[in-house]
Amino acid sequence: MDTGDTAWVLAASALVLLMTPGLAFFYGGLVGRTNALATIMHSFVTIALISVVWVLWGYTLAFGPDKGHFIGGLEWFGLRDVGMEPGDYSATLPHNIFMAFQMMFAIITPALITGAMVGRIKFKTFLVFIVLWSTIVYAPLAHWVWGLGGWLGDLSSLGMSGLEGKALDFAGGTVVHISSGVSALAAATVLGRRKSIATEPEIPHNIPFVVLGAGLLWFGWFGFNAGSALGANGAAANAFVTTNTAAAMAALSWMTMSWWRGGAPSVVGAASGAVAGLVAITPAAGFVTPAAAIIIGFVAGVLCYFATQFRAKLKVDDALDVWAVHGVGGTWGALATGLFAVASIGGIDGLFAGNPGQVVNQLIAIGVTWIWAFGWTFVLLKVLDKVMGLRVAEGDEAVGLDASQHGEPAYTL
């Protein structure tokens, strides 16, 4: 055990926890006034809900003793055997802080999806969905990529000729971002569009909150990515630098796109760009150089900008563009990891360093994640719609979820 490594992962875990309140403000500021509080609540209650789920069965399903490369066993239910001594995942950290660090990832991932559900989902159904999604979609995905024995972490375990090595995902490009982004697309599809969206554009009710959220996310993301080095060392520092660089570059490129094509440098655009850059660098942070991070960030800003425009044409009411930012940004990042990885940073080369096979591995992970997340989310929500109903009554939607679901107006100014 190493106190320095432990100190950093303790701090990093706290940082990642803060990301979800940050997300609450990023999302909450983007919606109209009558749904502001409900949107914030979606993130806040997810912290509470998943914290409990993770301690009870989430962690053991994702990281517990491997069953057939597919899922963890229930041996660590309720954190049995997850103690203060180092576990299998890190020799220099107490096992329970590794568990806690991973918990924060499990929390923010479903919270991200909530951006697609704004203004119309029933709160009760929402709670059930989040618990099911975390159990059925997230836990297996996390196991495949990061669990000991997971098949995406060791492709040769599939025993298919030609497949070897692993899909690289430093801090959650597939597990966190593609999975939530693609699930958001499915959710928006099943839920259908808000009634009001046809007649009035949604104007963000509080853009300072959007910037506050983006600032807290950026801050917390250092824990997310640099914490994923699981130690206080040069690798963590490299992840820190690539993270910051990609976020900055994507903020600039998205802002520039909105300026060039929309006529003014959008503040919401800059904040969204920063998030897009953070998303894209997430799988790559520990594998690429800062110079590559500039390119990854630049492309993320431009690509997610266009994805947002494309989504608007799709008429799918993914209100806060979770798919365009996390789905597309995460996909680009997972791919870019296969392109720009260099062994001198993270031990594995990518295409540009002469290892085209890595791109194949990345594409497998990307494809599998898209299918898994979209499919399950679609099915889960269709079933829940039958069983409990997904959408609030039309009148409730018209007055907004703050009043109709929570009986509380966000402000009395």
């Binding site: 909105s258 094509r261 959008s266 919401v268 655009g269 947002t308 425009q309 608007a312 563009d321």
Partner: protein, 113 residues
Amino acid sequence: MNKVEAIIRPERLSMVVAALAEEGFHGLNTAQVTGRGEQRGIAHVGRAGQSYVVDMLPKIKLEIVVKDQDTTRVIDIIVAAARTGQVGDGKIFVLPVSSAIRVRTGETGEIAL
């Protein structure tokens, strides 16, 4: 007595209020309103660069109740201070007021203004 209701640009408010005070009209009240007229709105930019026109613009509604004989003077002061010459300068409406009461003293009529 008349109530003069002026819908003006927010950025002209302080000038209008100052101009009225200079001429001895101290009592008035203002409210934030959102208005639409010939001025067809400002193009807002969404994060995806989509520019949508918000044709309801923030305006200030200034209300001042005045004696009949002061009505035109007050209107002239407001017009002079609020005008930029661009579309969107606003409108002034005059409504008859049948009585006025000062809450503090209970006085009624023009003396209450």
